[in-house]
Symmetry: C2
Subunit: 342 residues, 2 copies
DNA sequence: CTGAAAGCGCTTACAG
DNA sequence: CTGAAAGCGCTTACAG
């Protein structure tokens, strides 16, 4: 491996100063074009590679952004996390930054342990990807570091957040069902679990309100426990004609359960999902759902955090990324002759 | 943000030198216990955070390991990549390192563009996670950097690799089918696509050989094209009684296809997968498959790359991580009365 | 257009 | 046990 080539080595070879080499390689003014060319050429020849650590020390920036993913919620949705992290990493790289992912274990979350990344000044900003508990959110406030929430938010703390427009997506989905003649529509999701579940519920509720359909408490079905672990969904009695599920995976679980009981989807019951993730196309029938624009969320999150890095006073509140309803086969219009009371 | 607290600030506050602070905080010898305690306390009070960049410059190490994932293959298997990357990141962190993921786009792969991470000395080592093309593998040889392959290998280059014991896993799975009375067994996977597909095929073949069952060329079925994109699987005529698929997703696709044609799995045909990923439990019936020990692969990969960082001459060749056969419902013993010729 | 000096925050080797 | 000096590789501000 020999000794690594530095600007000084290039300078020595050309009998010039390292300052000039620095200027040339950084395409700064103050070097004649001919010398600049020569320097770049020699740098190439000698296999010079820029030393980021030196730059980092100079300007006190690591050029890394942390992405913290709470372990509690990754259990279910690997594909979403992988895809969005991939975009985040790629977009950061285009901006001269790199992403460092860290998972927040349940133990660290409950002990309010801040990430090592922070204590080692490894990062200039932090994207928190996925819902974390309030105590931890509060503990994080002491971190002297720009940070944003991605894919969730918390009203009790003034933190910038980038989220899908969950409210509007669920509203549109419910409207679609109502246009299809459904009036008995259940919502599947534990309301206090995450901001997404809550906002999707409210979109569903808004649609009911607009169509003057009363909200039935017994048609709000829990899908997970306090820890976000899926539970067996208790079917209500009487049954609705359609189920608006808070995510594709839950729609998948529900459809499996209905099918196991001998029902047919969508003939007996219409079911909708949310996210358009792997479950949307895997489920049979494939799900009518809302596609989350993962790439745009990643891009907005990266742009926002980088803006906050260069200006710590920059805030934007809550940025909504619109989704898109995708109609597949798990939901159909209600036919007049069918009677859906169990 | 004020000015960031440095060791010098702590030293000034206590009227000592920064050397002593460095020793105390690094738990080195040469500071009295009482002073050491005092220094740590003041550091805490002042909100001191260690500056990794300075250390990096000092010893020429970034304390980052790159993880390169070729984009060409991530399309299919997000869950695997997410899980293994999560483990890699976690285990690196335990070793005082951080992971930086970078995807290798198809364009970069064909243009033989080396990752920016390398040119910026951002990493001390590189884990290449997922099959890449030979030309790129060769281009990578010029990188002065410890690197290992994870989840694949290439015979033509002497590179260390950590892989599942694909050969043995497929061998055991095929043995299981043969013990169940199957003798007409097809293999599903495009042989020249990846080392995993090839090795799993060879395990299948070894099992046939041991049981003196001739290999039938028409029972080796392609599942993807040159670019790794899944193709429609052409069913052979005559049909076998069982299919050994090179991965769970392909088993999933095959089962769907068989079911669409009106066949029943496993009553009409037994089908096995490989990986025990999300498809294994999603598919109906759930798949008999081989569980890949992702955590152990990640751990071994991290240990190996860190060993190579501290000693560039360390090599270990090809490390095999054993898998584990999991019997579910997609494969059953052949009953005597059934006749499986189409 | 070119370069000597200083400094970013730490650590190592050495002197007291 | 404590600290002054030097250096890691770059860049910025200033002088020539």
């Amino acid at each position: 491996m020999n000794h690594k080539v530095t600007m000084r080595d290039i300078a020595d070879r050309l009998n010039i100063s390292s300052v000039t080499v620095s200027k040339a390689l950084g395409d700064k003014d103050g070097v004649s074009d001919s010398l600049k060319e020569k320097i770049k050429q020699v740098a190439e020849e000698m296999g010079y590679r820029y030393n980021t650590a030196a730059k980092s020390m100079k300007d006190g920036l690591s050029y890394n952004i942390g992405v913290m993913i709470p372990e509690r919620f990754t259990g279910t949705n690997h594909s979403f996390y992988f895809r969005i992290y991939k975009y985040i990493a790629k977009i950061l790289e285009q901006g001269g930054y790199y992403g460092i992912m860290t998972t927040l274990g349940e133990h660290e979350e409950s002990m309010l342990t801040l990430p090592r990344l922070y204590y080692e000044q490894k990062i200039d900003g932090l994207i928190i990807l996925g819902q974390i508990g309030k105590p931890y959110i509060e503990a994080m406030q002491e971190m002297q570091l720009p940070k944003i929430f991605l894919d969730f938010y918390d009203e009790h703390v003034e933190m910038d957040a980038v989220v899908t427009d969950n409210f509007y997506g669920a509203y549109e989905l419910t409207n679609l069902l109502i246009r299809g003649g459904h009036r008995d529509i259940a919502y599947v999701g534990t309301l206090h679990s995450t901001s997404s579940i809550q906002d999707r519920f409210l979109g569903y509720y808004k649609s009911l309100l607009e169509h003057r359909i009363p909200l039935q408490q017994q048609w709000i079905l829990n899908d997970r426990d306090e820890d976000g672990v899926y539970i067996d969904i208790q079917l209500p009695d009487p049954m609705p004609s359609a189920f608006v599920c808070n995510c594709d995976q839950v729609a998948h679980n529900l459809i499996n359960k209905l099918q196991d009981l001998g029902y047919h989807v969508p003939q007996d019951y219409s079911v909708t999902g949310f996210d358009n993730d792997i479950y949307a196309t895997l489920t049979r029938p494939p799900l009518t759902t809302v596609e989350v624009d993962i790439e745009r969320m990643a891009k907005l999150a990266v742009q926002s955090i980088l803006k906050k890095v260069s200006n710590p006073y920059y805030t934007f509140g809550r940025a909504l990324v619109p989704g898109r309803v995708i109609e597949r086969e798990s939901a159909i219009a209600l036919t007049n002759d069918a009677d859906h009371q169990a």
